[in-house]
């Protein structure tokens, strides 16, 4: 054994700092969360449960209204589309935050934080995992929405891709804030990670137009990227028009939210190091 040389089986520093090594660490973390998902069918079922319940409830409500009111008949898919898009935001944010909470529940955070895993690599892994969980949750639900109510989310075409991207980015920004808060204040703040997204349910005008809100609240709604997505959905369903500038505005706002989310995550992580909370977390 040589002194101060890299151990035989370990990549030296130059390789450890390379983008390829970074990608390997991210992949390692994604594997870690994937193994957890795979190890427990109740967890997988839980991913699908709420989106399915929501979709069925709003689908049947819309079916009922379609028989009774002309507006709803003309607005086929409005509620179903809104609930599917809303669940993309919720499931992605929860997928991000809950994956992080797994580390605290399993008392593994100390191991990760002293490993060569860098904070941005952890965040990148959580982003990938949120997408994976979203696919597990939403693909079956979208299929059932088509089978039960004839709503095909893919019929939205490019608009769906734009909606999806904007909602995912916002969910990641919220996920970073939520995990940052848990990093700083521990499991006492766990409910924040679960509930933060629901503040946006009334404000993002998921089921009604922005004009429904009181005038003083409308600027708040317009400062939130998902509002533009749901306005865009209504434009397609009701008017048959894809309004591109809405998506661009949402994208610009999302860039700000993503940067702010990362800044807050990094700040809270640093504060956690100062307060010593990284070594005190557990179930």
């Amino acid at each position: 054994m040589t002194l101060h040389s890299p151990a035989a089986g370990r990549a030296p520093l130059g390789e450890q700092a390379s983008p390829a090594a970074s990608a390997r660490r991210i992949y390692g973390m994604v594997l870690r969360y994937w193994y957890v998902i795979r190890s427990s069918w109740p967890r997988t079922a839980e991913l699908i449960y709420w989106p399915l319940v929501q979709m069925l409830m709003w689908g049947f409500l819309q079916s009922y209204l379609a028989q009774a009111a002309g507006f709803a008949a003309n607005a086929a898919g409005l509620f179903i589309g809104a609930v599917l898009l809303w669940d993309i935001l919720v499931r992605s944010q929860l997928g991000f935050a809950v994956a992080f909470l797994e580390e605290i529940w399993s008392r593994n955070l100390g191991h990760l934080m002293m490993s060569p895993l860098r904070p941005y690599e952890l965040v990148a892994a959580l982003m990938v995992v949120s997408l994976l969980k979203l696919l597990v949750a939403m693909v079956p639900v979208a299929l059932l929405a088509y089978l039960f109510f004839g709503f095909n989310v893919l019929s939205l075409g490019f608009a769906f891709a734009a909606f999806f991207a904007n909602l995912i980015i916002m969910s990641w920004a919220l996920g970073m804030v939520a995990t940052g808060v848990v990093l700083r204040w521990g499991l006492g703040a766990e409910s924040f990670a679960w509930l933060i997204v629901f503040v946006f349910l009334p404000l993002c005008c998921v089921y009604y137009p922005v004009s429904t809100l009181p005038a003083w609240l409308q600027p708040v709604a317009l400062a939130l990227p998902p509002t533009y997505v749901f306005e865009g959905l209504r434009a397609i369903v009701l008017d048959g028009a894809f309004v591109g500038h809405l998506m661009l505005e949402a994208l610009a706002l999302n860039a700000v939210y993503l940067a702010a989310g990362w800044a807050l995550f990094a700040y809270f992580l640093q504060r956690a190091r100062v307060h010593g909370s990284l070594v005190q977390m557990g179930e």
């Binding site: 040589t2 151990a7 030296p12 130059g14 390692g28 870690r32």
Partner: protein, 306 residues
């Protein structure tokens, strides 16, 4: 060779220069339990020379202080570790051991002072050296739902271990884990979990190993087995170890040096044998009790009259 970066080659060049200058005796065999240790006092560094200065010590802290509000968890400690030695951090509950180890790992930011690991400032450059370290503690678990193999795979990837499958097979055989590789970690016994934790801590062949009560809650036979394994690793790899333990027999057996903490300050820093001799006690446990019961100031006086 071609696969390695310039950093690794520079490290080897430095290594060659280092090897040419040190005495042969210090290059082979277990480290001298007495010679070469770096003595320390609270707040005042009086380190002896660290070889020729060409290579930084595995870990060095200077005037390290950590305040939680107005309470000093660690209060101005200074010490430096020599390669290939086992240093025990001792002290009662709240003495500052865990905080010190946490600062060595970069999990806690010091209020003031400096922590350097292999020369890297842990406040700013920790990612340069984290792949050369590892950590084991019964109080920090690996994911329960994952199998032993999955856990070792993930940590192997995080630490950039090459030929990972072979390494897992090797370390599993070494730690009698081969039959447990596909069992969830959460379903193992305490002794089996400890073996997995130690295997995880050694997966990257760390040069600096931080052990926080590595044999806590183990039966004597398993604890002895674990100590033997750790001793073997340190001897073979010339790894540097920081050991926090409440088991004084373990410390006497494993440690080359003892740093005793009391209220965040260093109150003793020498070899276990010297400490026992200076206090006129039969073993380290009695020394620990004497220091803990007299307090930091009393301990200094006791040491002078022992």
């Amino acid at each position: 060779m071609f696969g390695e970066g310039w950093t690794a080659r520079a490290e080897r060049l430095a290594l060659g220069a280092f090897l040419a200058q040190i005495e042969p005796a210090s290059r082979s065999g277990p480290p001298d339990r007495v010679g070469g240790l770096l003595h320390t006092t609270t707040g005042m560094q009086k380190t002896t020379s660290q070889s020729n200065g060409a290579l930084p010590p595995p870990a060095a802290v200077r005037e390290l202080r950590k305040l939680y509000r107005d309470i000093a968890a660690v209060d101005g400690i200074t010490f430096s570790l020599e390669r290939g030695t086992v240093t025990a951090l001792l002290g009662g509950n709240g003495a500052g051991k865990t905080t010190t180890i946490s600062m060595l790992m970069g999990l806690v930011v010091p209020t003031s002072g400096e922590v350097r690991v292999f020369g890297a400032d842990m406040a700013r450059e920790r990612h340069k050296v984290l792949h050369r370290m590892n950590f084991e503690s019964p109080y920090v678990d690996v994911p329960m739902r994952l199998t032993v193999r999955q856990n070792l795979e993930i940590f192997g990837r995080l630490y950039g271990v090459r030929r990972l499958k072979a390494r897992i097979a090797e370390i599993a055989a070494d730690f009698r884990l081969t039959d447990l590789l596909d069992r969830p970690y959460g379903k193992l016994s305490a002794g089996q979990k400890t073996r997995v934790s130690i295997a995880k801590a050694l997966i990257n062949e760390p040069e600096l190993l931080l052990l926080d009560e590595p044999t806590a809650s183990l039966d004597p036979d398993t604890a002895d087995w674990a100590r033997t394994k750790l001793e073997g690793y340190c001897r073979d790899q010339r790894a540097t170890v920081v050991l926090a333990s409440h088991n004084m027999a373990e410390v006497e057996r494993m440690a080359d040096r003892v740093i005793m903490l009391e209220k965040g300050r260093i109150v003793a820093d020498e070899t276990p044998a010297d400490l026992i001799k200076r206090f006129g006690r039969a073993n380290l446990e009695e020394v620990f009790l004497a220091i803990a019961r007299r307090g930091a100031d009393g301990a200094a006086g006791a040491a002078g009259t022992a």
